[in-house]
Amino acid sequence: MSERIRHLLLRVIVGLIRMTGFQAKTGWKSSQRKADDLRGM
């Protein structure tokens, strides 16, 4: 994948996340993070 296409794809992804994401609230939240997960993600 060329650098240009990769950057374009990244911008689309980031835009999607901004639209669908939300700002987290203050304070501690229970975590679903799998600590031993060593995949790339």
């Binding site: 994401g21 987290a24 975590s31």
Partner: protein, 596 residues
């Protein structure tokens, strides 16, 4: 032998979040070497790919790049970049993408590693969990709660949970935006300490001031009774966003941001005191929450914010947990070590991991002194330690370069500048003529572990300068309630060992244990025999803005450009030629000024 199929060679690599790049090497589960990239590139807190550190570790182990079977990064690449760009913590879309995208989508992230380590498989650990693993396996605990706080992980800035030999569970987390670490970084920059990793300067400045700006600062964030601090105006680690936030802080305090190099005023000092007070309160609230929620008696405190040894020392002294461990590599400089440990634990669940940290002296040997030093060699009879102890007792300052280099931010007696803490004016002399840095900066005492209870209010181990303690009241001199200036306060004789005791009588201890740092212990014993005082000033062998020296050549270059009196390299002693003019020294210093 290259390519031995029975040998497992694992690298942990950290610092790709932008600072303190590092690498740690394990061979068949044994920690062989670890190092930081800044020691090679000579750029403090360097966050570029740690290729030099990797190669140095391989050289120490007698291995080649083809031998490396696994490379584990101390952060998740896609999560990092998505959250850096999108600024949406806990976004379901980002998490879903992380799961859907193929493993190779992270390929941009490890392109240098793929070239350098052609046969390695790549793995990626969560950033905070890397901190926790690094701290846990260097702690004395079998099971513990953990509290990890820093500027940012991938998409979180604080996490808490439990860890033991069989499980590590992240139970709670705070989103990465605008947390406690970000507040400390912002105010550090606002006070004119612009370079990354300068937060410890604010911590050192705080005891000189009064926290009269707490209310003003508290107007820029909200918090709760569990330490859930969040800035009211969203900020990211981007220059434009930071600049806007600095203006917000200036508006709140009524004091304009200080430029680097401008004189420090009483207002700046009081703002530092206010920030440190807020920081400690929030950390205490977090720790109490974790204690109540886990019921654990041990706490592992890690992440960049845990490098605040004042807060860590108070947390330990207040017994929020029965026991507290603050690893010397619990910050970013040890994240690669933690990532590799996490991999070893995951890939070999039946194997119990126990590592020998060698007193965290895990880097390479210094090599020989340069040829130009030969003419300045000092002959001596008797033992080296006894000879140097006598010179220190006379008031000489000594650069001490022996054995393998330390991992982490602190010099622990392998790349150290040493001096007698009883000498009047030694703090200013070392700061201004040797270290070329702010005169208020305190120095740490290295004290014989067996004597610490006779001088300080703690007899617990602090082998790696990771906690503060207070000078015993019987060792203190009476002091006035007010001082005309910061300099008067600094120079006032507060105790017999003034140079290593802060204005509030606290000190960042290195308890020197014969089993952990035997060579340095021997020097302290010799010094105590002469003076009756088992304490030396121990500060890192560098000047302001410069990474700690690594090789004998770097030590010599630093030595001749400062007012240090003697240099020890391996078993030899050299005196300073004193041939450089002040102009020459300042010209040499300029190369480090960008990171000062």
């Amino acid at each position: 032998m290259i390519g031995d199929p029975d040998r497992e060679v694992v690298f942990g690599v950290g610092g790709m979040l932008g600072h303190d790049a590092n690498a740690a090497l394990f061979v068949n589960g044994r920690l062989v070497a670890a190092s930081q990239e800044e020691r090679f590139t000579r750029r403090k807190h360097d966050g570029s790919f740690p290729g030099n550190a990797i190669q140095d570790c391989l050289k120490t182990a007698g291995l080649g790049p083809e031998d490396v079977s696994v490379c584990v990064f101390a952060e998740k690449p896609l999560q990092c970049i998505l959250f850096d760009r999108a600024h949406r913590s806990r976004s379901l879309a980002a998490r879903a993408l992380g799961r859907i995208l193929p493993e190779r989508a992270g390929g941009y992230y490890n392109k240098y590693a793929r070239i350098l380590l052609p046969r390695a498989r790549f793995r990626y650990a969560w950033h905070h969990v890397s901190h926790v693993a690094g701290a846990y396996y260097t702690s004395p605990y079998a099971h513990s709660a953990f509290l990890c706080v820093d500027g940012k992980g991938e998409d979180y800035s604080a996490s808490a949970g439990v860890i033991d030999g069989d499980r590590v569970e992240v139970l709670w987390e705070q989103s990465y935006d605008n947390g406690l670490g970000m507040l400390y970084t912002l105010v550090t920059q606002y006070l004119g300490f612009a370079s990354i990793g300068s937060e410890y300067k604010v911590m050192g400045l705080a005891p000189y001031g009064r926290p009269r700006f707490r209310d003003a600062l508290s107007s820029v964030y909200s918090t709760d009774d569990r330490g859930g601090l969040r800035l009211r105006e969203p900020v990211t680690f981007q220059p434009g966003s930071m600049a806007a936030a600095l203006r917000t802080i200036a508006a709140a305090t009524g004091v304009p941001p200080r430029e680097n190099g401008e004189p420090l005023t009483a207002e700046h000092v009081d703002i530092a005191a206010s920030l440190q007070g807020i920081f400690e309160d929030e950390i205490f609230k977090m720790a109490r929450f974790v204690r109540a929620a886990t019921g654990e008696q041990n706490l592992i405190f890690c992440g960049g914010c845990a490098q605040n040894c004042v807060a860590a020392g108070k947390l330990r002294a207040e017994r929020v947990f029965e026991r507290l461990f603050n690893s010397p590599v619990g910050g970013d400089m040890g994240s690669g070590l933690g990532a590799a440990l996490l991999y070893l634990r995951t890939s070999h669940p039946a194997r119990r991991i126990k590592i020998d940290t060698n007193g965290f002296c895990l880097g390479s040997e210094p090599g020989s002194a340069p040829a130009e030093a030969a003419g300045w060699r000092v002959p001596f009879t008797g033992g080296l330690h006894e000879f140097i102890a006598a010179r220190l007792a006379e008031g000489r300052t000594v650069g001490w370069v022996r054995g393998r280099m330390e991992l982490g931010a602190r010099a622990l007696g392998a790349r150290s500048i040493l001096a007698d803490p009883r000498q009047q004016g030694m703090q200013s002399r070392l700061n201004l003529a040797v270290k070329f840095r702010e005169s208020f900066r305190p120095f740490a005492p290295a004290i014989l572990a067996e004597d610490v209870g006779q001088w300080f209010d703690s007899s617990e181990e602090s082998n790696y300068m990771n906690y503060t303690a207070n000078l015993l009241p019987s060792r203190r001199h009476a002091i006035p309630s007010t001082f005309p200036s910061l300099k008067d306060q600094l120079d006032y004789p507060r105790s017999e060992i003034q140079s290593v005791v802060h204005v509030d009588f606290s000190a960042r201890l290195q308890t020197v244990n014969a089993n952990v740092h035997p060579d340095f212990h021997r020097l302290l014993v010799a010094f105590k025999t002469i003076t009756g005082v088992p304490i030396l000033i121990n500060t890192s062998f560098n000047v302001g803005g410069q990474p700690i020296v690594r090789t004998a050549q770097e030590a010599w270059d630093c030595f001749v450009n400062t007012d240090l009196d003697l240099l020890v390299v391996n078993g030899d002693v050299y005196r300073n030629p004193c041939e450089r003019s002040r102009e020459d020294k300042l010209a040499w210093l300029k190369q480090f000024s960008k990171t000062a």
